[in-house]
């Protein structure tokens, strides 16, 4: 067995879906070939059993014990061959399936990482996730079915040779009749598929109703409405039940037809064959063989139908996978590389007039904090998020492809005189970190998650944790730093998650750190402690804190106050409180706007 995952998934051929599948197969040519070889052996071994039984009957009829014993041994040997080839084929194709599936997941992960912030704008999480489930399954299925599919073809050829060599007319009846029957059953299946689709739709709706109840259970148990929800669920559940019964009705006809049609065919063929046998045109053993084949053929034919279906699905799945792998990032690197600004560069935004010199801890307050948040986005060169559809703006806030980065209002922010837009993204991300509250907390060992891209540093970690006042979060997670952090920090309160994000940003220790509302969800006591810790942790590094919290602003070197998006006042928190009534009102929220 091979070792998976492979260290490097390679560069896929994205020109078309078949080429992509072809590329996946080419990665494991030997495996797929062996799968086909074993698949053929497995199916042909099964196909020879009826012939062996027929031969045995003939040997019996002729009263020849020697050949009869040989025939019995042949049946046994064919059984052993079926078992051995079957499992070898199975092991081979499962490995091929997994190789393809894992490779696709590696490719999608790598590509998602490359796309970064662009990804969320171009496609939904659900769409990408359906790749890792449905589409991977479809493509893997198409590769998996190569073994059995080729086996089915081989078996059909073997059966054709055997039957035609015994009796051409009888052989033709079986070889033509069996596929016609399979096609006929396929036609009968169509209305069933429609009902099953309806059933699955209703089943999905009922499942989302249950999910809805579970997700809102606190609200329901707190405010009431259980009986209405129970009744609604019951109603939908009964609807599903009735659809289920109607599916069962169609299925029951089909189940009957699946016995009747092939059965009548077998009977007719056997009846004709019996007449042949009566006239000694075929032997008794051959009569038994014909009888056995009429039913055996259903297996390779069903396999072929399945293979066709899986190949079509695989094609569709591959199409969806390559459409994601073909996406390109927004923030492309500039073609003419600007000289990288040296260390201790000054951050400057011409539009707002914000200037932050190296090593400073600057507070950025605003009459409308949203403007300051947007400035932080500009510094990070992220496409601005859509302004929230606030009351009356008659459009649904549906996720989906939005516009790209809008035109920047005037010249963009600069670092050491070099426009940030002229820097390669990698350089930008290496020097500036914009830490926001929607930053994702990933599932995993807590210390590793806090360390982010770096290694777990036993010295820095406790310092950052205490600077972010996150001690109690360690207590809330069983095992503390070595414990498991749930995705999105969903077992934590908003305040706890926020402090972990802060600790992570501090541990990343970027040259310039822009913190957006780092304490919006923590209580005043904790906020006061963070204000102190932050100062110590960022000593000598450049830090911008976007906040209107007086506890934080009081501990900064300098506060810049934005009004209508531009700096109108600068100075210490205490000075500004005295000199600017607008500032005082903004940071103490003493008065309504």
């Amino acid at each position: 067995m091979r070792d998976l995952p492979v260290p490097d998934p390679g560069t896929p051929d994205l020109r078309s879906a078949p080429r992509f599948i072809g590329w996946l197969i080419a990665r494991q040519r030997t495996g797929v070939m062996l799968g086909i070889v074993w698949g053929c052996s497995w199916m042909v071994a099964q196909a020879l059993v009826p012939a062996a039984i027929g031969a045995a009957v003939d040997a019996l009829a002729a009263r020849r014990p020697g050949p009869f014993a040989a025939d019995c041994l042949a049946v046994l040997a064919l059984g052993a061959a079926t078992a051995v080839a079957g499992i070898l084929r199975h092991r081979r194709v499962v490995t091929c399936f997994l190789d393809a599936a894992y490779r696709i997941i590696q490719l999608v992960t790598a590509h998602a990482v490359t796309l970064g912030a662009t990804l969320a704008r171009l496609t939904s999480t659900g769409e990408v996730v359906s790749i890792s489930t449905a589409d991977v399954e479809a493509v893997g299925g198409a590769i998996d079915v190569t073994g059995r599919g080729s086996g089915a073809v081989a078996a059909l050829i073997a059966v054709a040779i055997i039957l035609l060599s015994r009796s051409v007319p009888l052989g033709l009846i079986v070889l033509v009749g069996a596929p016609v029957l399979t096609a006929l059953v396929g036609v009968l299946l169509r209305p069933l598929h429609q009902r099953q689709r309806r059933y699955r739709d209703l089943q999905g709706k009922l499942a989302s109703r249950a999910a809805d109840i579970v997700a809102g259970l606190r609200v329901l148990r707190g405010i009431g409405g259980e009986s209405a929800f129970s009744a609604r669920y019951r109603e939908q559940s009964q609807q599903l039940r009735h659809t289920g019964v109607s599916v069962a009705r169609t299925e029951s006809f089909l189940a009957g037809a699946e016995v009747l049609l092939p059965g009548l065919f077998v009977t007719a063929a056997t009846w004709i064959a019996a007449h042949y046998a009566l006239h000694r045109a075929i032997t008794l053993g051959e009569l038994v063989t014909f009888y056995a084949y009429t039913s055996f053929l259903a297996l390779p034919l069903a396999t072929l139908t399945e293979a066709a279906d899986k190949i079509v699905r695989g094609h569709v799945g591959a199409g969806r996978i390559i459409s994601v792998l073909r996406l390109t990032p927004d923030a492309t690197d500039p073609t003419c590389g600007a000289a990288e600004p040296g260390p201790d560069a000054t951050l400057h935004d011409p539009v707002s007039g914000v200037t932050v010199t190296a090593g400073e801890l600057v507070g950025l307050a605003a009459d409308d904090l949203a403007q300051a948040v947007r400035l932080a986005d500009r510094i990070g060169r992220y496409s601005s998020p859509e302004p929230a559809a606030w009351p009356g703006a008659g459009r649904a806030a549906e996720p989906g492809p939005g516009p790209g980065p809008g035109p920047e209002p005037g010249p963009g922010p600069e670092l050491g005189g070099v426009p940030l837009a002229d820097l390669p993204v990698a350089v930008l991300r290496a020097r500036i970190l914009v830490a926001t509250n929607d930053a994702h907390l990933f599932a995993g060992r807590l210390d590793e998650q806090l360390a982010g891209a770096g290694l777990v540093d036993l010295h820095a970690m406790p310092v950052a944790v205490s600077a972010a006042a996150a001690h109690d979060v360690l207590d809330a997670i069983p095992g503390g730093l070595a414990g498991h952090l749930a995705a999105r920090g969903r077992t934590l309160s908003g305040g706890q998650a926020q402090r972990l994000r802060l600790a992570r940003a501090l541990l990343a220790d970027p040259e310039i750190l822009v913190l957006v509302e780092p304490t919006s969800a923590v209580d005043a006591h904790t906020e006061a402690s963070i204000a102190l810790g932050l100062r110590e942790a960022r000593l000598g590094r450049t830090t911008v804190v976007v906040t209107n919290s007086p506890l934080l602003l009081d501990r900064t070197d300098r506060v810049l106050f934005l009004q209508d998006g531009t700096v109108t006042a600068a100075g210490s928190h205490a000075d500004l409180l005295r000199s600017s009534p607008q500032y005082a009102s903004a940071v103490t929220r003493g008065a309504e706007p």
Binding site: V49, V57, A83, A120, V219, G222, G225, G256, G494
Partner: protein, 619 residues
């Protein structure tokens, strides 16, 4: 054969379902599951009997053709007429028709029965969910319930709709086929029975390991999917923190874990499948060899050997079905155990007949611990006067939220009492409690349904007038009226997407309509987008108007506006009094307040403060 993709098909359903270490909800015991299944069957024993009879009849009819073919072989061997062959062929056709008709009615009756039972199980489960005690809902989290309501219901559905009928048919077919061989010639049963012990042993070996193996396999696919979803969802964070290599390494590690799980089940199948496959062919070879021996000795006819061989060959399909479904039956039973487990959650309220005399909310000498020995609250007493505004402040972990939950009647205190109008909260029926006190958190779930449905949750008979005025009270009537369908606009999953502040307004309108006299606010506005904070605060203050309010506060200005400030530390109340009193007392609260203002000389009232500061600038 075993489905090649066994386990993988469940992987997508398992996406959300990595088993958590802290399972709070119980799982029903095996005996309880069997008893429940028996009871459910007992109520429908008539239908069940009909199904079994129809399937048995169909199987019997299906045994006729091989037997008749054997007769044809014997007759042809001994010489017969074309007419008799035609007659036998006609009998075969007739048997087929009978078989198909019985199968058709059997499948329909089985389908009806399965659907009916399934509907009962899932409806009982949802009723169980809706009846879960408040304290359990607060603590259990939704992950486990999500798994139960999605994966377990699906698993049970597959088992009930497909598995049980398939196994029933297969079991009947196997036993009746062996019976038919016995009728054909009792001697020929022996080679069929030889394989029973080894098949039983191998199946037992496999089935002991398979469920855990497949569960681990599907969970590992779930982890893989979750990780990828996280990489995509947190793509901006990945970019900002340069986590690319970390995420790729993570994917590789998840794949390695998944591969290990896959290899384990593959190893199980490597032993099991060939053994099962051999067990299908052994009876055939045995029947043939033994039958031939008997034929040579004149103990049976050629036709009997032929019929027995064909029967033995016909055993392959049902045996395969039977073994293939066995592990599904196990997972189905496990799913049923989890669904039925909800019934074992003990009730946490003991509703009595006493009704509150007034609106006075009191906690006296209250202690509470989630883990025995770790008291989160230590003998706290607090009287909330009707109409009073209380702000609770204090560092994280001080027990503020726990006190809030106790005051809202969600948890019962371990020691002491929380009463409203003299009646302990947990002795009030839930409906009465809701009319008295409500807990408001930052959570704002919108249910799939209309805006009206979402507001009238607790008051189903509320008219449009009441709904509209509730919306108007929270300042949301404007944007709701602008919507094309107004109150009938579908929201929530599958409906129109509302912004977070809009959803929060709907949640507040619910409260206005439910009209409790006391509200416990737990960080109700802590995660509001700064762009909409002020607007929402206005909505909230409209809701608070005229009610008793206990607010667990993050922002000191909330404390400043309150009638009384309670400072909590380490499960105890350390300071209590009006804002002004606490400032004058010069305790920790005063220190915090002064740091918040940057200048302790600034007077405490916001409006005055502005004029004052402005005046100073002017001066």
């Amino acid at each position: 054969m075993m489905p090649v993709t066994a386990g993988r098909a469940e992987a997508d359903q398992a996406a959300a379902a990595v088993p958590s270490a802290t399972q709070i909800l119980p799982v029903a015991a095996g005996t309880a599951v069997r008893a429940h299944a028996r009871r459910a069957m007992a109520t429908r024993w008539r239908e069940l009997t009909v199904v079994v009879c129809l399937y048995a009849g169909a199987t019997l009819a299906g045994l006729v053709p091989p037997r008749l073919l054997g007769t044809i072989v014997t007759m042809v061997q001994r010489g017969t007429t074309a007419g008799r062959v035609d007659l036998l062929a006609g009998f075969i056709a007739a048997a087929l028709i009978v078989q198909s008709v019985l199968i058709r009615f059997g499948a329909l009756a089985g389908g009806k029965l399965g659907e009916a039972l399934l509907a009962i199980f899932r409806e009982d489960f949802i009723d169980g969910v809706l009846g879960l005690p408040l304290s359990v809902v607060e603590r259990a989290g939704s992950g486990d319930l999500v798994t139960r309501s999605s994966r377990d219901v699906n698993e049970l559905s597959v088992t009930a709709r497909k598995g049980v009928p398939a196994m029933l048919t297969a079991a009947l077919t196997v036993s009746l086929t062996v019976g038919a061989i016995a009728l054909d010639n009792p001697l020929l049963v022996v080679p069929c029975l030889i394989v029973v012990p080894p098949v039983w042993a191998v199946s037992r070996w496999y089935l002991r390991r398979a469920p855990a193996g497949y569960l681990r396999e599907s969970a590992s696919w779930g982890v893989l999917t979750d990780s990828l979803a996280e990489t995509v969802e947190g793509a901006r964070t990945v970019e900002a923190l340069r986590l690319g290599p970390v995420r790729r390494a993570r994917a590789d590690a998840d794949i390695a874990a998944c591969y290990a799980a896959e290899r384990y089940t593959l190893r199980l199948r490597t032993f099991f499948l060939p053994a099962a496959e051999a067990s299908y062919i052994l009876p055939l070879a045995g029947v043939l060899a033994f039958g031939g021996y008997a034929y040579f000795h004149g103990w049976c006819t050629l036709g009997q050997v032929t019929a027995a061989a064909l029967y033995a060959r016909a055993l392959v399909t049902p045996m395969d079905e039977l073994i293939g479904w066995l592990d599904h039956l196990q997972t189905g039973t496990a799913a049923l155990a989890r669904l039925l487990g909800l019934a074992d959650v003990p009730a946490d309220r003991r509703p009595g007949s006493a009704r509150p005399e007034d609106e006075q909310l009191s906690a006296s000498q209250v202690s509470h611990a989630y883990i025995a020995g770790h008291d989160v609250l230590k003998q706290i007493s607090l009287d909330v006067l009707p109409g009073e505004r209380i702000a609770i402040v204090g560092p994280s972990g001080a027990g503020k939220s726990t006190l809030g939950r106790l005051l809202a009647g969600i948890h019962a205190p371990d020691l002491g009492q929380v009463t409203v109008g003299g009646v302990p909260l947990t002795e009030l029926p839930l409906e009465d409690l809701r009319g008295q006190i409500a807990l408001v958190t930052q959570e704002h779930h919108l249910f799939a349904g209309t805006i009206r449905d979402n507001i009238t949750l607790g008051v189903p008979d509320a008219g449009d007038q009441a709904v509209s005025s509730a919306l108007a009270a929270v300042d949301a009537l404007g944007w709701v009226q602008v919507l094309a369908d107004g109150l009938d606009t579908a929201v929530g999953a599958g409906g129109r997407a509302l912004s977070a502040p809009q959803a929060q307004q709907i949640a507040l309108a619910r409260l206005v309509l439910a009209n409790p006299h006391t509200l416990i606010l737990d960080e109700a506005t802590s995660l509001i987008d700064p762009r909409s904070a002020r607007r929402l605060e206005r909505s909230l203050s409209a809701v608070l108007d005229g009610r008793t309010v206990v607010a667990i506060a993050h922002r000191l200005h909330t404390a400043h506006d309150a009638d009384r400030v309670i400072v909590m530390e380490d499960g105890q109340i350390t300071e209590s009094g009006a804002h002004r009193q606490l400032i004058e007392a010069q305790g920790p609260y005063a220190a915090l307040w002064s740091s918040w203002h940057g200048d302790s000389s600034i007077p405490v009232h916001g409006t005055v403060e502005n004029t004052d500061a402005g005046g100073r600038v002017g001066g």
